[in-house]
């Protein structure tokens, strides 16, 4: 029976990780902060990849590796699988998670409407702010994915998009 910890631990550490780098250490250099956070994710990705594939045969091709990420890996880390995997068959994959666990608690200030602003545009403004804010919290998972794939010999770049909280999708671009 693998050891367990309260999920709050993960949540807190993620939260504080972002806060530390994005807000405390490099408030003025967002991309540097991003790099750092991603790097941390990357290392964890590498290590998890190592652990999670201990007992399984090698992947035949890139697709297998990606599928592994969508299924087993995601399940291990987020207790659910990726909801939708798309690809253009030219090295770009889109992994969509309709309820990304680490975004479920994201909540913005309710639009202070009632005084003029129609809630619709307020909502738009909101979701804009949301994705912007959520963005910082996705560097880490991006790193995770990239780390794992890299370790499987799939060099790639990973970026994320927040559509409507808590849904988000990760775009994997395989290099070369």
């Amino acid at each position: 029976m693998a050891r367990e910890v309260a999920e709050s631990c993960i949540d807190s550490i993620n939260l504080e990780l972002v806060h530390t780098y994005a807000t405390r250490l490099h408030p003025t250099k967002p991309e540097l902060a991003a790099r750092r956070i991603e790097a941390i994710g990357f290392q964890v990705g590498l290590q998890l990849a190592e652990r999670y594939t201990k007992e399984r045969p090698r992947f035949g091709d890139h697709l297998e590796a990606i599928k592994f990420i969508c299924k087993d890996f995601w399940a291990e880390v987020f207790k659910k699988q990726i909801d939708n995997l798309k690809t253009n068959h030219r090295g770009v994959f889109v992994l969509q998670d309709n309820r990304f666990r680490w975004l479920t608690r994201f909540s913005l200030d309710a639009p202070t409407s009632g005084n003029g602003t129609s809630s619709s545009e307020a909502n738009q403004a909101n979701s804009a702010r949301a994705s912007q804010a959520a963005g910082q919290y996705l560097y880490f998972p991006c790193g995770l994915i990239r780390g794992a794939l890299t370790n499987f010999g799939v060099p790639c770049a990973v970026s994320a998009e927040v559509s409507a909280l808590p849904a988000c999708s990760f775009i994997v671009r395989i290099k070369g």
Binding site: L46, K54, P57
Partner: protein
């Protein structure tokens, strides 16, 4: 008995290599291990010809040298594990098992935050585990 174990990284650089003989012949094993990488490449590049069951991590006997047998194991993350033994005939099952334990040990070593993936493994714990595995296999220093 096992005279040498090695872990070789994705870039084919040695991550860990340890021989279990008393003789001053350590470099020899470096040559042997290094050359065995060729065989691994071959096996991976065309598995069916060499009758390896597709994508199995255990690669079986790579090749015998005059005095040794060299076994290989390739993890999903392209980490190579190599055993050099003196035994004439070993049961694949046993070797497989050794490798599995060996791999497990590596995975934990790699999970050490201070171990940078792709770098040489210096963890004493790992060395400890490995030599115990080797011993359990009946390794005894050659007289």
């Amino acid at each position: 008995m096992i005279v040498c174990v090695a872990v070789v990284g994705q870039q084919n650089n040695p991550l860990y290599i340890q021989s279990f003989t008393n003789g001053d012949d350590t470099l020899k094993f470096h040559y042997i291990v290094h050359c065995s990488l060729d065989v691994i490449d071959e096996k991976v590049s065309n598995p069916k010809k060499l009758g390896v069951s597709l994508n199995e991590t255990f690669l079986g006997l790579l090749y015998p040298t005059e005095d040794y047998k060299v076994f290989g194991y390739l993890s999903n993350t392209k980490i190579k594990f190599i055993l050099v033994t003196t035994d004439q005939d070993l049961r694949d099952a046993d070797v497989r098992n050794i490798f599995r334990r060996f791999h497990a040990a590596y995975v934990d070593a790699a999970s050490n935050p201070f171990h940078v993936p792709g770098k040489r493994i210096t963890s004493p714990a790992f060395a400890e585990r490995v030599s115990s595995i080797v011993k359990s296999f009946g390794a005894a220093p050659v007289p």
